[in-house]
Symmetry: C2
């Protein structure tokens, strides 16, 4: 039988990164292409302890149906934490626990996007979110990134030219893939522009807690006196991604639609993992846990940048990083980026070609993404050494 | 700010059942309105054991990102089990693990439905699925239920009259809410009609394993030589609903689109719970576990029907049941059903007004749904006694 798919999925294809993962699955290949947290960053002992206790004391709570909005104690804890520590959340806001932050992108899209509506996004940006927007037949309008975040003049041009723009998608901290953090000045400007043009902001902040250098910059959502920002948070990078626990903080009227959509998608988020997150926040020292994570990633990033400096500089440059999990490397103009990435695979090291992260992957791109959280220190060093020898042969030949 | 929602969610409202749950949350109210498995049906000891072992032996497997398709061992186990025990699955089929069976309805809808497309469904039917179809702006075309399943003449009329029908949604076993099971003859007819008119079938089978009387009838999917059936299974009713683990068995070409949609929705299903289900199937006696569940529900259903016979008959009738979790009760024609349900709430017992399950909830309906799995035996008896005294006052006055 020939299936008649919906218009929205006709052109959808599996993420380019996933295609690369096929090579990366070969154990002889050094994968710098993933985005997994370091296994040593998981609080295994604590989760084991909590889980054992829950099954001893109240197993039914962890196994029975629960409510779509999420586990009440966890909702309260996140609400309090985000308000107190980050000034995120006003009286008109509420919180929804989701099956990972990815579901926030999905629920926001489902609630807001008609086919043909526009999402304004940073370019490059996280391919997973871009694909979610595409899956609702939205058109993507990219705004180029600068070293301190989106180009604000280009953003205003986009807002003027796109009357069907519904929201601006941003990852303000240690952006995936570029590693760039938006300055406080630009955050204020972004907020003012969104307000001026009556467009919402979808703020995705998976890496905000993983800053290992410099001063923390508050979320765009901390500015939100007008109810125009949907904030997406997650426990994936700070507790465990396999548990799939994220959250949205958004004005109640918006959240209400997202809750109804979630009901129809998966009823509620796995309740065991919600309880684990809640008990972890309650009974363990979250800030010293974060400190441990920062040390792990600082060390790994130093190994990566040290090797980049030694083996790839000066021909291949990278964006300076102060947190997160990724490095964005750029080749000289005369080198074919796609070919470089293919050659790298042949030499058994996998990176992600940068065009995968563009709003139109046929646009020119000289960059590739390196992840430093997943590989071991040895793999990281070896992988970048191989890239160096490739640079010797292709660039410095 | 006034939010401009997408067309698809403009009219969406929270499920009527959830509104009723607000009353049911009052501890002095006997709730016969839920659909939760009995807490004593959960294999708590086994899950505790498995979980402990996993965290001892391979914690990272249970905490790290996983693949969208689902945990490979679980996919293989379900595939083998369904093929061997139920002749479900052909060479062209594949399997996707989902975040509960609800997600199968969502992914099938997202992959197949354009706005204005038609879903043909049983009426009454499961409100959760109907709301999912509605959330993609599909139009619902109801086909009345008979004691052995959908009226097949009406189904053919619907297929003739609805050129935009994309799939037929059916719950063939112990349907929620009616409790009705489709006969084997009708399953064959349903399949033949779907094939004739080039329309897919979405078969939702959460209760098939919970038969406590009579002969098992094979799934519609067991007939599927043409690749026209999407089968939705779940561990919610046989292991735990809070874990949110379901699955789709469908032709690879269809499943491929559903996988891309799932990537954008939640990346993958909670991996800990997938491992729990896999290890449970591998290391414990699943069929004797099912036997235990059937005994629990047989006993509870006997208490319910005994009380219905004693306190509500002959004025209020119910569909005979051979499995599942629900009883569908029908009031005499001269009684206002909605008023009866409201009066019941005032007397502190909650049932679900039947019109909540109709394709158009303004259509006439004399029925209400009783759930017998969630309340304790005492609550069940007490609740039906109260309904009996209400019947005395309203019907037999």
């Amino acid at each position: 039988m020939e299936y008649k798919f919906s218009d929205r999925v006709q052109k959808l294809k599996p993420s380019a990164i996933r295609e690369i993962f096929k090579y990366a699955a070969d154990p002889s290949v050094v994968s710098l292409s993933a985005g997994n947290p370091a296994p040593e960053a998981f609080p295994v002992e604590e989760i084991t302890e909590i889980s054992g206790k829950v099954f001893k004391e109240r197993p039914i709570d962890a196994l029975q149906y629960s409510v779509t909005e999420g586990y009440s104690p966890l909702r309260e804890q996140v609400k309090t934490y985000m308000k107190k520590n980050h000034n995120v959340g006003r009286d008109f806001d509420n919180i929804l626990i989701t099956s990972g932050a990815q579901q926030v992108m999905d629920l926001a899209s489902k609630s807001l996007l008609n086919e043909g509506d526009v999402v304004i996004c940073e370019t490059p940006s996280f391919i997973g979110s871009l694909n979610t927007f595409r899956s609702y037949n939205a058109r993507l309008r990219g705004v180029p990134m600068e070293s301190d975040g989106m180009n604000m003049e280009e953003l205003e041009v986009a807002l003027k030219e796109e009357p069907r723009a519904k929201f601006i998608y941003t990852i303000p901290n240690f952006q995936n893939p570029s590693g760039i953090t938006m300055s406080w000045e630009k955050r204020k400007r972004l907020y003012a522009l969104a307000k001026k043009y009556g467009v919402l902001i979808l703020e995705d902040n998976p890496y905000g807690d993983l800053r290992f250098y410099g001063e923390h910059i508050e979320a765009v959502k901390s500015l939100d006196e007008d109810g125009i920002v949907i904030y997406a948070g997650t426990f994936s990078k700070v507790i465990s991604p396999g548990m799939r626990v994220g959250y949205a903080i958004a004005p109640q009227a918006l959240l209400q639609k997202m809750i109804v959509c979630k009901q129809g998608e998966d009823v509620h988020t796995n309740i065991w993992s919600q309880i684990i997150c809640s008990e972890f926040l309650k009974n363990y020292d979250f800030s010293s846990h974060l400190q441990k994570l920062k040390e792990i990633y600082l060390k790994k990033s130093a190994i990566a940048t040290g090797a980049l400096d030694k083996y790839l500089a000066p021909e291949i440059t990278y964006n300076p990083i102060k947190g997160g999990l990724f490095l964005w490397c750029t080749l000289p103009d005369n080198i074919d980026m796609t070919d470089f990435c293919k050659q790298a695979v042949l030499r058994k090291v996998c990176v992600v070609p940068g065009n995968a992260f563009l709003t139109d992957e046929n646009d020119p791109c000289q960059s590739f993404r390196i992840n430093f959280s997943t590989p071991t220190d040895q793999q990281l060093l070896k992988g970048i050494q191989i890239l160096g020898s490739l640079a010797d042969d292709i660039i410095r030949k």
